[in-house]
Symmetry: C2
Subunit: 176 residues, 2 copies
C-alpha cells in the first residue's frame, strides 16, 4: 500500500500529527505516550520515531501547525476598522469550532516546562501579539499594542472556560 491510497488520503506522518494533536490537547504533553499516539493511528510505537526523532519534536511539530493556523486566520481577517477587533475575535472562535483541540493545545502550551517548548511558545505568542497589534494600529485603534494584549488575555479566558467547562466565566455569556 503506497502512501496516499488510504481512504483518508493522508500521509502516515500527517495521521500521526493529527492523532498527536488530539491526544496532546486532551491529555497534555506528559500523559500522552508515544504508544498511545501510535495505537490511535494504528501503527507500532517505535514507528513514530521513524518520523520524529523525539517525542518533543513531535510535539513541537503539532504546536507549530497550530500557531501557524492561528496566525493565518488572524491575518486573513478583512474588515472595516471599527469592526476589526470583533471580527478577529470571531476568527478565533471559528477556529475553536473547527480545530478545537489544536487551539486549546496552543493556548495552554505555555504551562509546559520543557525549555525548547517554552521557547517556541514564547516566539509564537510574541509573533501573534505583534501581528495583531500592528493590524489594530493600522485600523487606527488607540493603544493598539495594549488592545492586542487584552485580545490575547480574552483568548486565554475563553480557553480556560472551555477546559474547565465553566462557560459562565465568559463576559458575554450572561445568566438571567
Amino acid at each position: 500500500m503506497t502512501p496516499r491510497d488510504d481512504a483518508s488520503t493522508a500521509t502516515r506522518k500527517e495521521q500521526i500529527l493529527d492523532a498527536a494533536a488530539e491526544l496532546f490537547a486532551l491529555q497534555g504533553f506528559y500523559k500522552t505516550t508515544t504508544a498511545l499516539v501510535a495505537k490511535s493511528v494504528g501503527v507500532t510505537q517505535p514507528y513514530v520515531f521513524h518520523f520524529f526523532r523525539t517525542k518533543e519534536e513531535l510535539f513541537l511539530a503539532v504546536l507549530d501547525r497550530g500557531y501557524r493556523r492561528l496566525v493565518h486566520a488572524f491575518s486573513a481577517v478583512e474588515s472595516p476598522p471599527e469592526e476589526l477587533v470583533h471580527r478577529m475575535g470571531g476568527a478565533f472562535e471559528a477556529l475553536l469550532v473547527t480545530h478545537r483541540n489544536e487551539i486549546l493545545l496552543v493556548m495552554q502550551a505555555y504551562a509546559i516546562p520543557e525549555p525548547a517548548i517554552r521557547e517556541e511558545v514564547k516566539a509564537k505568542f510574541d509573533e501573534i501579539h505583534r501581528m495583531v497589534g500592528s493590524r489594530f494600529a493600522q485600523a487606527g485603534i488607540p493603544n493598539a499594542s495594549g488592545e492586542a494584549g487584552m485580545f490575547i488575555g480574552t483568548g486565554l479566558l475563553i480557553a480556560l472556560s472551555q477546559i474547565l467547562e465553566l462557560p459562565r466565566l465568559l463576559p458575554w455569556c450572561d445568566p438571567e
Copy 2:
C-alpha cells in the same frame, strides 16, 4: 500569626509544602519528582509519603493554599467603589511579588490533565469568579459578572507574560 510560621521553626510538613510549591511552580506537576521535593527539604524521598498519601495529594495541598491566599487577598481589599477594580488588580500584583511561585502555579494549574486536580481548579476558579463578581456588583459596577471574567482574563495574561518573560504583552507596559 499561627504558631511556628517562622522559617526556622517551620514544621517538616510545612517545609515540604513550601519546597513543593516552588518546584511545582517552576517545573510543573510531572517534572517535579517526590525525590526532588525531598532533596530540597533535606529529607529522604519516602518520607514525603509519611505526610501526603500520594504526590497528587501533595500537589492539591499546595494548590489549595495558593487559592485560599488569593481569595483571602481579594476579599480583604477595602476600597471606594470607583477604585475597587484597580485595587483588586493591585492586590493580585502584590501577591505576585510576595508569593510569585504560588500564584503562577495557581494560574497555570488548569492545564494539568489530572481529573482530581482539574476538579479542584474548576471549583476554585468558579469561587473566585463569583466572589469577585459579587464584590463588583456590590460596588455598583455594571455587568459585574462580565467584569469579573475580564479580571480573571487579565490575571491569566499577566501570568502568561511572566512565565514567558514577555512583559510587552501587558497593556500598561507600553514601549517608547
